[in-house]
């Protein structure tokens, strides 16, 4: 039963990810991205990372994709302005990418297959994560908060509309 659900959500995630990169209309890409993030959140849930699946839905599906859709609305395309990619580039890059994927699969299944799996799936509770975050990873956490503050200022400078009159 668990395998069936796992297979379903894996296929769902992969198909919607293919939809993101294949669809011509960018709004379809954005909504495929939402579906892909929901599939990933269900995969996290199946692996037992409940907190992360919540975070995934809140931040990725809730905030990031909304940002994308908002920018698409702001840009206001009348017609698709994207030119076709040359066929040779598509063929070459897909060959390279799938070769890379095969190599990665081989390496990962070699090196990570020897990790002994637990009999009962582990539970990553919020308590464990927050204890780690505020003891062992306190310094990166604080750096991240300062980074977010700098980000807010940077975005404000970057996306500010140009002034019409210059003094």
């Amino acid at each position: 039963m668990k395998e069936a659900v796992f297979t379903f959500f894996s296929l769902f995630t992969l198909l919607t990810a293919a939809g993101v990169i294949l669809s011509r209309n960018i709004i379809y890409s954005a909504f495929n991205l939402v579906l892909c993030f929901f599939g990933l959140a269900s995969l996290y849930l199946l692996w037992g990372a409940t907190f992360l699946s919540m975070i995934q839905i809140l931040i990725y599906a809730g905030a990031i994709v909304v940002l994308f859709v908002f920018v698409v609305m702001l840009l206001n395309f009348e017609k698709p302005t994207e030119q076709k990619t040359r066929f040779s580039i598509i063929v070459l890059s897909s060959a390279g990418v799938w070769t890379l994927a095969l190599i990665l699969l081989r390496v990962l299944s070699k090196s990570l297959g020897e990790i002994p799996s637990l009999e009962t799936p582990a539970k990553a509770s919020v308590r464990t994560i927050s204890k780690l975050l505020f003891s062992q990873y306190l310094w990166p956490f604080e750096v991240l908060t300062v980074f977010l503050l700098a980000l807010i200022v940077g975005i404000f400078v970057l996306a500010r509309p140009e002034k019409e009159e210059t003094p």
Binding site: A49, F68, T81, V97, L112, L118, L132
Partner: protein, 107 residues
Amino acid sequence: MILAEKLTSMAYWSHFVSIALFALGLLGFLTRRNALIVLMSLELMLNAVNLLLVQISMRTGTSEGIVLVVFVITVAAAEVAVGLGIILNLYRMKKTVDLGSFRNLSG
């Protein structure tokens, strides 16, 4: 033993899923020319790495991978915000988001 075998095979297939997701993201990154879809492909690649981190940390029973994924999600959100700001400015300059049309620096 049968349970262990099943778990290892499931681990194998979950590796396959995250690598395939990464490959799809990389393919979109290399072949599409719309800047917004390139950013979405970047998100797909980051999510593939997140999925692999979650799987490994759940299989070994440690929580460090989860903490790392929280950091990755934060930085990814920041990256999208900066990227979209840059794309907005580029669109104001050129009235297009096709990556092939930004050739000011290529001489």
